[in-house]
């Protein structure tokens, strides 16, 4: 199943251990930390979906907030206005952002480098302005609230209004998405993404339709960002136009850079570290983004490959010396 057999055993072991730890954790921490961890899982999903487009395919998209916000609004509006059930709303919070990512990506992938960065920012800004202006539909910056019905799959049922139930639900979805992304980046398709990042011209010369593959990566990342947005709304029972602001994409950028781009594990780790840091700092300092900004600049200068990159290079050096 997995390409790197030796590595995958270690991965499965760590992954299962972390999952086990996170499964028993709600019994030891209070409701506040359960919600905190649930939000952390959502941001991890947002960060790893961004890692697919940035870390693996080499496209810096500041437009992921658009898909995050779209997913969040899909869930909220479908449940609030149209009484959809959770299963279908959540599914559509992937499908609708994918369709938008197809539209945005169709234009964006024609551009490269900083032009790509800017065009994705512009699309996100347009989304944010529309969300802010069309208050009758979106609630504007005040946002919309709702209460989700239980999630049902056959006989299986989870009450999402219960914080613990919501915790396990989000954990499960994020864990599955993680495995899906990991499988994808190890598949031949993932190798094409990496080859585009490494050398776009060469990938084209080999015969790959580079723009099409970029679009595929953009759509998958957009769909998963949408799912993250949908889960975020399910957790907070709320959506607002603020989620569409391009600076929301900055979260994913920070987590990915701090943890290590192109590793999946890195952005997840980065999200955990940065969010814990923020949570800890908020007791002493109102402006936690000050520290986040400094950490980001510091990491870019000192360890552009992030924490995972640092750890990996340590291991390599040790192996070389032995």
């Amino acid at each position: 199943m997995f390409i790197q057999k030796g590595k995958s055993f270690g991965f499965i072991l760590i992954f299962v251990l972390i999952l086990l730890l996170l499964t028993v954790l709600p019994f030891f921490v209070d409701l506040f930390y359960q919600t905190f961890l649930t939000e952390l899982f959502v941001w991890i999903l947002f960060a790893i979906s961004f890692d697919l487009i940035f870390g693996y395919t080499g496209l810096l998209s500041f437009g992921q907030a658009l898909f995050f916000g779209l997913g969040s609004y899909t869930v909220t509006i479908l449940m609030r206005q149209f009484g959809f059930n959770t299963e279908l709303s959540l599914l559509l919070s992937i499908v609708i952002p994918i369709l938008f990512a197809w539209f945005v990506g169709y234009f964006s992938v024609k551009l490269t480098g900083i032009h790509f960065v800017i065009i994705t920012i512009i699309f996100a800004i347009i989304g944010n302005i529309i969300g802010d202006t069309w208050t009758s539909f979106t609630g504007g910056s005040d946002g919309l609230t709702f209460s989700p019905p239980p999630f049902r799959l056959g006989l299986f049922q989870i009450d999402l209004m219960d914080i613990k139930g919501n915790y396990y639900f989000v954990l499960t979805v994020v864990a599955i998405s993680y495995l899906f992304l990991r499988r994808m980046v190890q598949s031949p398709l993932g190798k094409v993404f990496i080859s585009i990042r490494e050398n776009e011209d060469r990938a084209r010369l080999i015969g790959y339709n580079v723009q099409r593959y970029k679009l595929i990566a953009f759509m998958i990342a957009g769909g998963l960002s949408g799912l993250a947005g949908g889960l975020y709304s399910l957790t907070l029972k709320y959506a607002s136009a603020g989620y569409l602001h391009w600076s929301v994409s900055g979260h994913a950028v920070v987590y990915t850079i701090v943890g290590g781009m192109g590793t999946l594990m890195g952005p997840a780790l980065g999200a955990g570290i940065v969010m814990s840091l923020e949570h800890y700092l908020i007791n002493y300092l109102q402006a936690t983004d000050l520290v986040v900004g400094i950490v980001l600049v510091f990491m870019v200068l000192v360890a552009p490959k992030g924490l995972v990159g640092l750890i990996q290079s340590k291991f390599k050096r040790r192996k070389a010396s032995v």
Partner: protein, 283 residues
């Protein structure tokens, strides 16, 4: 109606000139160093904030107008030497780095200056009649100062040694190195000049808008639009595009909500990016 239109046009030109200064700074840095400075809006904001403190101390807007850009220019010097120089050959990484810088500067100002907006009263309070309405003379003065600065910048680029060096580095960096131009220094001074320009326009804008830590966020995006529509690296194009876009937005806002006018400006920019990535006024 006619007076509303006249005021919309005047406001459009005044704001367009301020935006032109901001975009010129951004575009100079882009044209030479090939980096997108996400912290440019934060430097603009910093200019206004430093000016607010200077006015509190000295009581003079004019002293602030001169000193605040110098202070921010110094900060630009530190940024360029300390951060940008080490990663200047990686454009995507510099975007992320300056994004982090933007966050840090904004939040630092939030901590020190506070979150509530503050006003800088215009040093010239006189208003002259315009049809049946009145128009503040200060805005005309701001426009004249901006034009004066742009002329100064043009002379600097065309007639001085440094200006010649800058243009040479833009044209061919390798050749410029070969000819003995201190490219490193040119980079540094360009970044300082760009930062100072952002701060200068921040001070100029301060009597019109209110001073607060987020004031640079939307301006940054407008500056991007202008630089792209005018053409990256094309300074004259930036000035034209700034005035054009501000006029369209100003006049458009008379007929449709301002947010819709902005959406149209953004959609226009996407089309320019796709069809003419070299900008409307590029060759």
């Amino acid at each position: 109606m006619i007076s509303n239109l006249a005021i919309a046009i005047l406001n459009g030109i005044v704001w367009g000139l301020i935006m032109a200064l901001i975009a010129l700074g951004l575009n100079m840095i882009f044209g030479l160093l090939h980096i997108i400075n996400m912290a440019h809006g934060a430097l603009y904001m910093l200019g206004a904030v430093v000016a607010w403190y200077l006015i509190e101390i000295t009581g003079s807007f004019w002293i602030a107008l001169v000193v605040a850009p110098l202070c921010v220019g110094l900060i630009g010097l530190i940024i360029e030497r300390g951060l940008i120089r080490t990663i200047e050959d990686k454009p995507i990484i510099t975007i992320i780095c300056t994004f982090g810088l933007m966050l840090a500067v904004q939040q630092l100002v939030l901590m020190i200056f506070g979150g509530s907006p503050r006003r800088i009263s215009p040093p010239v309070a006189y208003r002259f009649p315009l049809f049946e309405l009145q128009y503040p003379a200060m805005r005309i003065m701001i426009a004249l100062i901006s034009i004066g600065l742009m002329i100064g910048l043009w002379i600097f680029l065309r007639k001085t040694k440094y200006g010649l060096w800058m243009r040479a580095v833009v044209q061919d960096r390798e050749m410029a190195v070969g000819l003995g131009i201190p490219v490193n220094k040119v980079y540094m001074w360009t970044f300082v000049l760009g930062s100072a320009l952002a701060a200068f326009s921040g001070v100029l804008a301060a009597p019109i808008v209110s001073v607060e830590f987020m004031m640079g966020r939307e301006v940054l995006i407008m500056a991007f639009i202008i630089v792209i529509v005018g053409g990256m690296g094309n300074l004259e194009g930036s000035v034209l595009a700034a005035i054009m876009i501000s006029l369209i937005q100003g006049i458009g806002s008379l007929f449709v909500p301002p947010s819709i006018a902005t959406v149209f400006a953004l959609a226009f920019m996407i089309i320019v990016l796709l069809i003419r990535p070299q900008g409307l006024f590029g060759e």
